[in-house]
Amino acid sequence: MDTSPPDPQLSALYQDLILDHYRRPRNKGTLDDATHAVSLNNPLCGDEIDLQLRVDGDVIKEARFIGRGCSISQAAASMMTQLLKDRSIPQALALADRMSAMMHGDEAAARDKALGELRALAGVSKFPVRVKCALLPWNALTDAIKA
C-alpha cells in the first residue's frame, strides 16, 4: 500500500479552514424576508445551491444558502455569504470577478485581502475540473442580482 504523504497540492486544496466551513457552514438556512433568490445546480456533478439575499437599497444585508455538494462548493458558499454581508451590489459583483480571477490562476487576486477567507480556495486553481465547484455559489450570486 502506498503510504507516502499526501501531495502538497492536495494538502493546499483541503486546508483545515475549508474543511471547517464544509462541516460547519456559516449562514446555512433560508431568509423569511429575502428580496433575491436563485437555485443553481451543476448538472454534471449534481452540486446544488439555493441562495437567498436580503438587499436593502443597494446593500446586501444578509445572505443565506442551502446546498448539497463537495467540500469546495460548500465551503465557497459559506465563505461567500460571510463576505457579502453589508456589501453594495457593485462591490459584490467586483468580488465575484476577483474570485473568478483567482480561480483562473491570477496570483494578484489570490493575495487580495478583499477576498478574505476565500483566499484559502486559491489552491483550487491547480485542479481545473474543480474550479466550477468553487464558482457555483458566485454564479448563483450574479444570477440572483441580475434576475
Binding site: 501531495d7 454534471l44 463537495c70
Partner: protein, 409 residues
C-alpha cells in the same frame, strides 16, 4: 482469476502514468480501454479496406461491405442474436433505446397506455420513455427498488397489472452493479403482453449474454464499454418486430425507391441505418469481440466478481465507508460513500495517485434520490484489473480519510 498483469500488456494506454503514478483505471462502467488488436483493426481497415458500403461497384467497396457485414455477424454470434439482420448498428446503447422508443414506441403506444421502467435505470433508458409518454399522453410507471438495490419484484408485479405496452430495465445496473433476473422479468412482462427492452450496456461486456435465452424483444449495447471504439453499438432485436416497425431516421441507405413525395424502405437491418455507417466502429467492435472471446466471457465475469468481492471486503474494513447494492448477484461495480467526504473530493484525491474512479450520480438521479445520497463514488473493474488495483484503491481511500481527518496519517 485471470492473469490481469499479462492482459494489461495488451492495452497501450494502461502503460502510461498519471500524476507520476502508474495508471489504475477503475472507471470501466463509463468506458473501457482498447487493446492493441482493436487499434490495429481500425488502422488496418483504413489502410486497406476503406470505401463506402453497400453501394460500390468496385472490389474495394465490396471488401468494405464484407468487413462491415462480417462485424454484424460477429456481434450476432456473440450475443446469440435471432439473426444477423436483427442487429442494427447504432452509436451505442442510448441511440439504440431512442430507436426503439422513436420507432416501435411511437407506432404502438397510445394515450392511456403505460410504459414501465425501473428506479435503477440509467437516464438513457428513462428519458426516451419520458419523451414518448409525454408525446402520447401515456403513463410512465417506475418500479421501485429494494433497500439492497434490487428490482422490487412485488412492485414490478403491480406495475404489470396495468398491462403495459413496453417494459424496459437494465440487465446490470451501472450504478450498483446489480445483476437483474432478466429472463424472469422478461417472462413476467410477456405474460401480460408487453414488449421487453433490455439495456445491455453493462451486461454485454461482463457476462455471457444470450438474448434468445433471455427472450427479450430488444437488447441495446455499447461497443466502447466492451473494448471497442466509441460511437459503436447496436440494437439487437427480434427480426419480425424490426420488420414491422416504421423507420427511425430517414436518408440514404435506408430506402428502396424514392419518389417526389414518398419512399419505400430497404429491408432490415438497413432500414434503420440511414446514412453512411460507422464502419470503423463496427470493425473495431468485431476485433474487441474476438479479444473477449479469446479470454472467455464466463472467465471475465468470474474475475470481476472476485475483484468486486475483494474490494467490498477491503472497503468494509475502512471505518465510515458504506457500500451500496446487493451482496450477491452483482457485477464488478462497487458504489460507495466515505463518511462526509463528498465523492468528488474522493475522486480528486485518488486522481493524485493515478487512480481513476467515477464520482457523481452515474446518470441515475432517481436512484440516487432513493439511496438518499447526492452522489456516490464508483469503482468498476474489467479484465485488466487485478487485486493489486484493489490494494491501491484502499490505500488511496485511507489517504483521503487522513486528509479529511478520519484516520491518523
Amino acid at each position: 482469476m485471470l492473469d490481469a498483469a499479462r492482459l494489461r500488456a495488451d492495452f497501450p494506454l494502461l502503460r502510461q502514468r498519471e500524476n507520476g503514478h502508474p495508471l489504475v483505471y477503475l472507471d470501466n462502467a463509463a468506458t473501457t480501454q482498447k487493446p492493441q488488436a482493436v487499434l490495429d483493426a481500425i488502422t488496418e481497415y483504413y489502410r486497406t479496406t476503406n470505401a463506402n458500403v453497400h453501394r460500390g461497384a468496385y472490389d474495394l467497396a465490396i471488401r468494405a461491405t464484407e468487413a462491415y457485414e462480417a462485424a454484424r455477424a460477429k456481434l450476432a454470434g456473440f450475443v446469440n442474436a435471432w439473426a444477423p439482420e436483427g442487429v442494427v448498428f447504432t452509436r451505442g446503447t442510448t441511440e439504440a433505446i431512442n430507436l426503439v422508443a422513436g420507432a416501435y414506441g411511437r407506432a404502438h403506444v397510445r394515450a392511456g397506455d403505460s410504459v414501465v421502467v425501473t428506479a435503477m435505470d440509467h437516464h438513457s433508458n428513462l428519458v426516451p420513455w419520458q419523451i414518448l409518454c409525454q408525446e402520447k399522453g401515456a403513463t410512465l410507471r417506475m418500479v421501485e427498488i429494494t433497500e439492497d438495490g434490487r428490482i422490487d419484484l412485488s412492485d414490478y408485479g403491480r406495475a404489470l397489472e396495468r398491462r403495459p405496452k413496453i417494459v424496459a430495465f437494465p440487465y446490470v445496473s451501472n450504478a450498483l452493479g446489480t445483476v437483474n433476473p432478466a429472463a424472469q422479468l422478461a417472462r413476467l412482462a410477456h405474460a401480460v403482453g408487453a414488449v421487453v427492452v433490455v439495456d445491455g450496456a453493462q451486461s454485454t461486456p461482463h457476462l455471457r449474454v444470450d438474448v434468445q435465452a433471455l427472450d427479450c424483444d430488444f437488447y441495446a449495447l455499447s461497443g466502447h464499454k466492451m473494448l471497442g471504439p466509441m460511437g459503436s453499438g447496436a440494437l439487437v432485436a427480434k427480426p419480425e418486430l424490426l420488420d414491422a416497425m416504421p423507420p427511425y431516421h430517414g436518408g440514404g441507405e435506408m430506402i428502396s425507391r424514392v419518389w417526389d413525395d414518398h419512399s419505400t424502405y430497404n429491408t432490415i437491418p438497413h432500414k434503420f441505418e440511414a446514412g453512411t455507417p460507422n464502419v470503423e466502429g463496427a470493425v473495431g467492435l468485431a476485433a474487441a469481440i474476438a479479444y473477449l472471446e479469446g479470454v472467455g466471457p464466463e472467465r471475465i465475469a468470474e474475475h470481476e466478481q472476485a475483484l468486486a468481492a475483494a474490494a467490498i471486503e477491503r472497503l468494509a474494513q475502512i471505518e465510515g465507508v458504506t457500500v451500496y447494492g446487493p451482496r450477491d448477484h452483482r457485477a464488478g461495480v462497487v458504489s460507495f460513500t466515505y463518511g462526509d467526504i463528498h465523492p468528488h473530493d474522493i475522486a480528486t484525491i485518488l486522481d493524485q495517485d493515478g487512480i481513476c474512479i467515477r464520482a457523481g450520480h452515474h446518470c441515475a438521479q432517481p436512484l440516487m434520490r432513493r439511496l438518499n445520497v447526492p452522489a456516490t463514488a464508483r469503482a468498476s473493474f474489467y479484465l485488466y484489473n487485478g487485486l493489486d488495483d484493489v490494494d491501491v484503491l484502499a490505500g488511496g481511500l485511507v489517504k483521503a480519510g487522513a486528509l479529511f481527518g478520519y484516520v491518523p496519517a
